[in-house]
Each structure stands twice: as structure tokens, then as C-alpha cells.
Amino acid sequence: MERIPILKMGSFLLVTIQVDMHDQLAMNLQEDLTNRISATGARAVLIDISALDIVDSFIGRMLAGIAGMAKILDAKTVVVGMQPAVAITLVELGLSLDGIHTALNVDRGMALLRNSLELSDDEDLGAELANES
């Protein structure tokens, strides 16, 4: 089955969405991420959506779902890299993405997560770097 790869870096999980997701793929990502948080004990999830040229209500709901489930599993989620046109459209569509932390880019997203987890700059950069897709 088609999957979006999830990278583990220290206590962080990183996802870059680079394809136009059909709905099932979005649902798979939600399930995979939740499983990975549980299996790895990750404290934070960073989702890069800079390659997404639309976020509709389905994808918005999927992102909110990830953030909600991650929170219950004691992990913080940040969504980074939203294109300006996507942000304008989301607001007009009526989606406020409540409960989702966002940051302008990956750097700021990582800083936000480190800050909120009270980690130092290199603390999350464990020696392990796994890529399981």
C-alpha cells in the first residue's frame, strides 16, 4: 500500500508531504504517525507541507487529527511551510486549524518544538536516524 515516509530523528518524527494525497493516503499517514509515536515514544512531530499546493477540509481534518492523537500520546505537533495562497484559501474556506501549531519553515518549527520540550539545540539530534517507509 502507498505510504508517506516518516523519518525519526532523536525524539522527533519528521514528515514531508510531497505528493498530492488522495484521501486514503492521508488516512494512512494519520494512522502510521500515531503508531510510530506510540512505538518510538517520540515527543514531537514536524509535518512539512511546503510542497502541498492545496489543503482542503479533508487534509485539514487529517492534520488536526494527527495533532489531537499526538497530544493524547504526549507528543507535540507542528505543521510548517504552508504556502501563502494555501493559508488565504484555508481562512476563506472556514478552516481555522484550531489546535494545530504552525511555523513558517522547518527551522522555526524545530525551534518551537525544542523550546516547548525544553530541549537544547542538539539534544534531539540523537545518533539514530531511521527511515522507515
Partner: protein, 132 residues
């Protein structure tokens, strides 16, 4: 004017609809923000066609008004169960399915013109237009 038809039978068709609408809006010279709004509205409406209308099709037309302004019209047609209460269906946050209930009302906000016709047991036809 230009006229194209796309089937909406599977989730992958929604992705194809987004791609086709994006390409056509770019070809018509819509700015990036409008391209994104139109494509997002198309995605919402195509999902409605699939989920509530049990599949159907999209008609894409390019338009030109009297003032020479160009536009795009997207008409989503299904032969599904129809919508019992259109006013209710157009309310923000109302959903009879698993969505967030922003599809119809949100698409209406993203486009310039919006019409909906529905008959119980016959199907639904949603038409949206955006002018440049």
C-alpha cells in the same frame, strides 16, 4: 466555449480533478491565490459528489463575459439521493457524513457564483463560477 468532462468515481479521481482544474486555471491566467481557491473548491465539491452523490462527473467550461473577462465554471453532477434541506447543507459546520461540514459553504465563499439544484432521489447539481 471550451468544455471538458471528468468522471468522479474514486478517490483518485478527486486528485485528477484537482490537477485538471489547476492546469485550466493556470492556462486561463488566474493568479496563484485564485488558482488555489478554485482548486480547493473543486476538491471539496468533487468529494461531495463522490461521498454523498455516490459518484458522478464534473463539467469544466471556460467562459468569456460581455466585457471580455474570462472565467471558469465547474459543474458537479451526480444521480445520488439528493439533498433534503439545501439551506441546512449550506450551513457552516453541518455535516451528514464524516467531514467538517465546510465543503458546500466554504466552496461558495471561495468562488464568485454558486448555484445548487437538488431533487430527492434524482441527484444534485452544483455549479460554481470564478471570474478573473
Amino acid at each position: 466555449m471550451n468544455h471538458e468532462e471528468l468522471q468522479i468515481r474514486t478517490q483518485s479521481d478527486i486528485v485528477l480533478v484537482r490537477k485538471a482544474v489547476r492546469e485550466l486555471t493556470a492556462k486561463l491566467g488566474f493568479g496563484l491565490t485564485d488558482q488555489t481557491k478554485i482548486t480547493t473548491a473543486a476538491s471539496e465539491l468533487a468529494r461531495n459528489t463522490l461521498e454523498y452523490g455516490l459518484g458522478g462527473h464534473l463539467e469544466m467550461e471556460t467562459l468569456k463575459n460581455d466585457l471580455g473577462k474570462s472565467g471558469i465554471r465547474l459543474t458537479f453532477i451526480d444521480q445520488g439521493p439528493g439533498i433534503a434541506d439545501i439551506a441546512l447543507a449550506l450551513t457552516d459546520g453541518f455535516t451528514s457524513g464524516k467531514g467538517m461540514g465546510m465543503g458546500l459553504s466554504g466552496s461558495k465563499r471561495l468562488m464568485n457564483e454558486f448555484t445548487i439544484d437538488s431533487e430527492m432521489g434524482k441527484g444534485t447539481r452544483v455549479s460554481v463560477t470564478k471570474w478573473k
